[in-house]
């Protein structure tokens, strides 16, 4: 039962979406299935929150290495959740001033907005910015011209790195725009590489992925691949 019901739901959902794509009369079925998915996606947030609590509480209770980070994660999660769901410090919407909770949860000046503006925003931006330092270090240590393929990769990287900045314009500025060699100007050559070599390679990969997705989807729909149901027995 625990496995059969999800298998039937998966089969019906998949078949409805396939039929809806090919038969215009059944298009509304596909839309209905997509609405079900949107509702489930919203409910999944609750499931995700519960899962986060479970995993981190277990780490704290077992005192595993780094359990202090789990405490920080739990405190941050619970504080944000309480402040956001409770709409603490949020003024009611002027259109519906009789309803205390009618204001938007991240109203400017509210505690949730403060957490977002001075906690979440700088932290995520910092995490992303740090990448530049690691990429530079990795480029210095790992990007080696060991063979022909690596040399091709290096050459392309140099062209793109220069062509995507003003350096490319300066370095090949001596080539007239209207000459037969204007395609060799770094900014134009970069566009050529992206539009021809990159597109050709990516299209090949995308077609391969699409075929793989189609075959995997078929296996899931027909119940051949049941790995998404987890390892629990009936």
């Amino acid at each position: 039962m625990k496995r059969t019901v999800p298998l039937i739901i998966t089969f019906l959902g998949g078949v409805v979406l396939i039929i809806a794509y090919f038969i215009p009369y059944t298009q509304a079925w596909g839309e209905k299935a997509a609405v079900f998915f949107d509702v489930l996606a919203a409910i999944a947030f609750v499931l995700g929150g519960g899962n986060l609590l479970k995993n981190h509480l277990k780490k704290v209770s077992d005192r595993v290495a780094g359990w202090g980070y789990s405490v920080i994660c739990l405190v941050a999660f619970l504080v944000t959740l309480t402040v956001g769901l409770g709409k603490i410090g949020v003024n009611p919407n002027t259109q519906f001033s009789n309803y205390a909770w009618s204001g938007v949860y991240d109203q400017v000046g509210s505690p949730f907005w403060w957490l977002y503006e001075y906690g979440f925003k700088p932290l995520t931006a910092t995490m992303f910015a740090i990448l530049a330092f690691y990429v530079a270090s990795a480029a210095f240590r790992a990007f080696r011209a060991k063979n022909f393929e690596a040399i091709l990769l290096l050459g392309t990287a140099f062209i793109i790195l220069l062509g995507r900045t003003y350096a490319g314009v300066v370095l090949t500025g001596f080539i007239p725009d209207d000459s037969a060699f204007s395609g060799l100007k770094l900014e134009n050559f970069t566009v050529y590489i992206m539009q021809v070599f990159n597109t050709a390679g990516n299209r090949a990969i995308m077609i391969g992925i699409a075929l793989g997705v189609a075959s995997t989807s078929l296996k899931v729909l027909l119940g051949v691949d049941r790995s998404y149901l987890g390892s629990g027995g009936d």
């Binding site: 609405v35 259109q95 991240d106 700088p122 995520t124 530079a136 210095f140 240590r141 900045t165």
Partner: protein
Amino acid sequence: MYEFLKNLDRRWVFLLMLLSVAVPILLNARFPEKPTGLARAVFNEIEKLNEGDPVLLAFDFDPASEGELGPMATAFVRHCAEKKLKMYFMSLWPVGPRMVEDALDRVVRPDFPDLKYGEDWVQLGYKSGYEAVIKVIVTDLKQLYTTDRFGASIDSIPLMADIQSVQDFSLVINISAGYAGTKEWVQYASTPYPDIILVAGCTGVQAPLLYPYIPEQLPGLLGAIKGAAEYEMLVLDKYGARDENGELDEPGKYFEGIRRMGPQLIAHVLMILLIITGNIIFFIERNREGSS
């Protein structure tokens, strides 16, 4: 020197990267931008529209990628406001609505105070479900968006009167930092419904993956801060205020993309120098190993 470079502490590399980014920012270094075909294509798609045409702006990014995508969001909103287009904002990312608010705070509220909420622009907010949201709203927007971001009924908003689905928009502009984003908009909107015109701005790592959709499903694409700077230049050239000398006289917020190209230039040159240095060390080491 060889020994020093061979055993170079990576903190020196970090310091160099810090300087290469910080110095151009502190010196406010700006370099001219020459718009490429894709940036022009994005610009022209918006230019083709008439006053009052509805445009859907989907902000599918978060603060982590604001550095790359914030300037193009500013430029898109300004361009639409200058063209007097009706702007509909939505997001498939939970923090997307805050990105919309940031762009509105930068452009609409200070520089276009005459534009009224509900009549000239509307914030539809975030919906969970990723591509499934697109799949529904391409045929029936009001099935998912029953209220705006602030809880007002969608039917009470004058701007929504003529909008039934995404197909009613003259243009869809997507700013994307990943999943769900431009790829999903292509797959579930502009491909099955070719009448939906989609242009996009995306992060640098996404751009190569989106080139295969150009130009049929995606007529124009702004790739990272470079694309934003090129597009900014086009918008400024056409709509920017000029002083008596003919120089652009606009606040810094409209030059953000161009300004951020300064650190990018120096950082890219540093990367090339680091790669070359690393390879010189590699070849010296290999020669020494070979001769011994």
